[in-house]
């Protein structure tokens, strides 16, 4: 009976997920109508998007709580290759990730779309592709066969390409979009090959057959490599990340939020689905590769984020860093689990998933916050900002919550997943191999360096943008943000805090995924009740986020209250200290470039710094500094050059004579016929 009831609730979850897809499609359809009535986008399409998010959230939560599986066949696809969709805890979790951010984006879009209504760009295109984009992401997560997975993957990539190219009047955006398309196709191709390897052993394309396929270790490693390449490209792992900081900032801000917070997570989903679920027989060597790639991405990502002055680019680079952190945890999971230590392996997988959720929430929050600034001031350059906390207090405080979360500070959510990753790394003493016992702590040290650099980076981002004094006139006159934006930001900020304070609850929800993938859950983690979070054992480590929050709030309140009495409580306003010289002007403040200078200097070999001082027409000097991504010189340019050289060689075939072309056609035909016979 219980099993039957579970089946019923799972099919309800599946139905909810389907309705989410229909809402997303509906949002796209409504948006098309917006071409003659732009307000429709704001009034109908965006709320529908929010409803789709809500439905996805409900479906995902249902799947996580019930922890079962439901499958159905769609009346679509090819006659001999029907499309299947399925919902299980893993899919459910990623539906939650998509859902939370989409709800916020739907709410936010209501206010944000207004500013686009009078622009030159077509809102119908924007809304239509946003709906399709969401549909694609939902379908990728729900797909239960390789065919549908790839089709929806391409739907996701293509629709997001149009969104990146939305403001195509700027050459930089067109270039970013082209680069994005190229990388997305490479990634799609690699994933296709990966599925090809699996299908060759499984004999069919549905996930059920792929799952039971018995691969030889060599072929399994090949499938893993292809999956890592394909999904790593999409997730922006260093050195495959170059497209990401170009493409994500080019899109409108709520799309940037969707891309950074959600689409990257879909790549993580693909990686987990293929490697942990479909390939199955994990090998610890994969873990080493993933661990090293993840550490590299984390460190390089945040160092580049640190030197950016464009707020949205900074956030995009920080996404590279966070994906690196997620892959570090995944690598640890592979290492431990394949090494025969299932408890740390399970914990690491949970840490990776937890960070996935956390990053979705705070990166969504930060991108939407950057969008709010853009909306109010039309400014993305940090060097022009300043003092925004007084002009847009709501955005400011919520952005601060996002910054504290991403910097992994207690009691916010980023800290919990980072702490969990450290705890797993500390279990390295269990491993037999002495080299791994040293390698893992070093990776953890890289993670610690990363965390500290993130703190520096977001002190810079928040401090320069929201504190101090405005550095330009239009920022000084920033309008406050619309209420719907505030609501969306508040929702995400609250989620950040809730996820940080209630780790035991969240992990209880994630645990079914570990049971599903690794066949093993955790021992009761709450040795002493829900208040105390003790992942390994009470003696090893324990963290009580609610109490930390409580004591902090209590202390601040008590000290504040205690110091308000009598003449002590008085405050006098005065001018800032000016050394007895001229009063401080906004131009005297530390700029974003100056703030990052010491760290830029310490890590100088990683950057290619282009620095110049130019004299302008009015005789004033202008200092220009650009930190160029080294991977361009080291990886992409040589590849591009060799591709061009190869193309030039091939172009000799293009003689211009019609009969020569016909000759080639004939030759091809003959070869093909010979091959078939």
């Amino acid at each position: 009976m219980a099993a039957e009831g579970r089946l019923v609730t799972m099919s309800t979850a599946l139905a909810l997920a389907m309705s989410a897809i229909f809402c997303a499609l509906g949002s796209a359809a409504v948006a098309l109508a917006a071409s003659w009535r732009p307000a429709l986008l704001r009034l109908l399409a965006m709320p529908l998007l929010g409803v789709a998010g809500l439905a996805a959230l409900a479906a995902g939560l249902g799947a996580l709580i019930v922890a079962g599986t439901a499958t159905t066949q769609l009346p679509l696809g090819l006659p001999w290759l029907p499309w299947h969709i399925a919902i299980d805890p893993l899919a459910g979790f990623f539906l939650v990730v998509i859902g939370i951010v989409t709800v916020a984006v739907g709410c936010y879009g209501v206010g944000y779309a207004r500013s686009l209504e009078h622009g030159r760009d077509s809102v119908a295109v924007l809304g239509g592709f946003t709906g399709l984009f969401l549909t694609g992401m939902l379908l990728v997560v729900l797909a239960a066969d390789a065919f549908l997975f790839l089709v929806s993957w391409e739907l996701m990539s293509l629709s997001s390409y149009f969104l990146v190219a939305f403001q195509h009047d700027q050459a930089a955006n067109r270039r970013a979009a082209f680069l994005y398309l190229l990388m997305a196709h490479l990634s799609g191709l690699t994933i296709l090959l990966g599925f090809g390897v699996l299908a060759a052993f499984g004999g069919a394309f549905d996930f059920g057959s792929l799952r039971v396929a018995e691969l030889t270790p060599l072929w399994a490693s090949l499938a893993f490599t292809l999956a890592l390449l394909g999904f790593g490209l999409k997730a922006g792992l260093v050195p495959l990340h170059a497209w990401l900081p170009e493409a994500h900032p080019a899109a409108p801000s709520h799309i940037s939020a969707l891309m950074s917070a959600v689409m990257l997570k879909v790549a993580v989903y693909g990686f987990i689905r293929v490697v942990f679920d479909l390939v199955g027989d994990l090998q610890w060597q994969w873990g080493v590769v993933v661990l090293i790639l993840g550490s590299l991405s984390a460190l390089v990502g945040i160092l580049y984020a640190l030197v950016q002055t464009d707020l949205k680019r900074l956030l995009a680079y920080s996404s590279v860093e966070n994906l690196g952190v997620i892959f570090v945890a995944l690598g640890l999971s592979l290492l431990f689990y394949a090494g025969g230590h299932s408890l740390p392996g399970t914990l690491a997988l949970i840490a990776a998933l937890y960070h996935t959720l956390n990053h979705a929430v705070f990166k969504g929050l930060l991108f939407l916050g950057a969008g709010a600034i853009l909306h109010s001031t039309h400014e993305r350059d940090l060097e022009q900002m300043g003092g925004l906390l007084r002009r847009m207090p709501w955005t400011g405080w919520f952005f601060l919550v996002g910054s504290l979360s991403i910097a992994a500070l207690p009691p916010f959510n980023g800290f919990v997943s980072e702490w969990l990753t450290f705890q797993v790394a500390l279990q390295a003493w269990q491993l037999e191999s002495g080299v791994l016992r040293t390698l893992i702590p070093i990776a953890a040290a890289v993670l610690a360096l990363t965390a500290a650099l993130v703190a520096a980076c977001f002190v810079k981002a928040f401090g320069i943008a929201f504190l101090g004094q405005a550095r330009s006139r239009h920022v000084r006159r920033a309008r406050p943000e619309p209420v719907t934006m505030r609501l969306a930001l508040g929702l995400l900020a609250f989620t950040c805090l809730a996820l940080g304070v209630l780790p035991t609850l969240v992990i209880g929800l994630i645990e079914p995924i570990a049971i599903q993938l690794l066949g093993q859950g955790l021992p009761p983690m709450t040795d002493r009740g829900w208040l105390w979070f003790t992942p390994v054992s009470a003696e090893t480590a324990s963290y009580s986020a609610p109490l930390v929050l409580l004591v902090l709030v209590l202390l601040v309140t008590l000290v504040f209250w205690g110091l308000q009495w009598g003449s002590v409580g008085r405050i006098r306003r005065c001018d800032a200290w000016d050394c007895g010289l001229a009063p401080p002007s906004p131009r005297m403040q530390y700029s974003a470039t100056a703030f990052a200078h010491p760290l830029r200097r310490v890590f100088a070999p990683l950057f290619r710094i282009d620095e110049s001082v130019e004299q302008q027409e009015d005789g004033r000097l202008r200092y220009r500094l650009q930190a160029v991504d080294r991977t361009w010189d080291l990886l992409y340019r040589p590849i591009a050059r060799s591709v061009e050289a190869a193309a030039r060689r091939v172009s000799h075939l293009q003689s211009g004579h019609v009969r020569a072309y016909l000759g080639w056609t004939l030759a091809t035909l003959l070869v093909l016929l010979w091959l078939i016979s």
């Binding site: 992994a408 207690p410 650099l453 963290y543 009580s544 003449s567 006098r572 800032a576 200290w577």
Partner: protein, 321 residues
């Protein structure tokens, strides 16, 4: 493990927290006194730090026109986070329930929280000094954190726990004279403690020279009770690192039960240990000269190297013996 239900240990936690806050100015005063004596000055009395705090608390606070609400919130948050972090470190008695609230990594996180607000407060008013201090502070913190974590890892991999109480228990139970990995971790932690608490040769707590200051640059705009809280937080941080080093590496003397003799002995032990550490700090500050900023990375590299060597030596020499 500690009992989380009975009230008596919790009362002790609160008492220990207040003891932390109360002892912190004494430690700073003590270091100043020793330093003065080493420089052939009479120096202020040990209690001068308390008088300074009292004076600041009684004065009205001045806040710049350009300051935002964050500027007024920051001192309270910095103070609360630092104090909470200090209350987690076993000072007089080990195995208190605080060990269950937070482990060493949470401790590092709380200190980072305080630091971020300190840096943000520095940037708030919009003067050049604040940004300079914030930028430098984040540089030092960024380079110190990996070394700190590796040092913690060395301890934690040996004791199989990040719980401060468990590590100290492990140390007390082990009948061993010297553990090379701990020696290196201790060296690394000492260097880090100096960097993190802003002492010479990384930062000079008694300078207001524009080009060199780090911590002072961030709190330059503060006055009155705000400044008092910031100063007190810095003093508590010094005490925290002192107690951490003393009790992690030389835990003997700390009370393991709640008997009166045990507690008295624990109090005497920690005061003596802190006095010795403070004297050592004073001597180091007298002997060494302040480094210029871009030498600090080399200094922190040394700390990282020591911590890493501790870890390597633990893995190579100590495991599997």
């Amino acid at each position: 493990m500690a009992d989380l239900v009975t009230p008596w240990p919790w009362a002790l936690v609160i008492a220990q927290g207040f003891l932390c806050a109360a002892l912190a100015p004494w430690l700073v005063g003590w270091v100043r006194l020793i330093k003065a004596r080493l420089q052939n000055r009479r120096g202020p009395s040990v209690w001068q730090a308390y008088r300074d705090l009292y004076k600041l608390f009684a004065k009205e606070a001045r806040v710049a026109h350009t300051a935002s609400p964050l500027f007024r919130l920051a001192p309270y948050l910095v103070f609360a986070a630092t104090w909470l972090a200090a209350a987690i470190v076993p000072l007089v008695v080990v195995n208190l329930p605080t060990a269950a609230i937070a482990d060493m990594i949470v401790l590092v996180g709380l200190l980072a929280l305080a630091r971020v607000f300190l840096a943000l407060a520095g940037m708030d008013v919009g003067t050049a000094f604040g940004g300079q201090g914030a930028s430098r502070e984040m540089l030092i913190a960024a380079l110190a954190e990996p070394a700190l974590l590796v040092a913690i890892f060395t301890l934690a991999m040996t004791a199989h726990s990040t719980n401060l109480a468990s590590v100290i228990d492990y140390q007390l139970a082990a009948d061993i004279i010297v553990r090379p990995s701990f020696l290196f971790a201790l060296g690394g932690l000492l260097l880090l403690a100096i960097a993190e608490t802003g002492r010479i040769p990384v930062d000079n707590p008694s300078t207001h020279l524009e080009l060199t200051m780090v911590h002072e640059a961030m709190i330059l705009e503060y006055s009155g009770r705000h400044l008092a809280l910031m100063e007190w937080a810095a003093q508590i941080k010094l005490l925290l690192y002192g107690a951490l080093i003393a009790n992690l590496f030389v835990p003997w003397g700390i009370a393991t039960d709640l008997s009166v003799t045990g507690l008295t002995l624990g109090l005497v032990a920690i005061v003596v240990k802190l006095a010795l550490l403070g004297a050592a700090l004073a001597i180091a500050e007298t002997v060494l000269a302040k480094m210029r900023l871009f030498r600090v990375p080399d200094y922190l590299n040394l700390a990282l190297l020591l911590a890493l060597l501790g870890l390597l030596i633990h893995v190579i020499l100590e495991v599997g013996t």
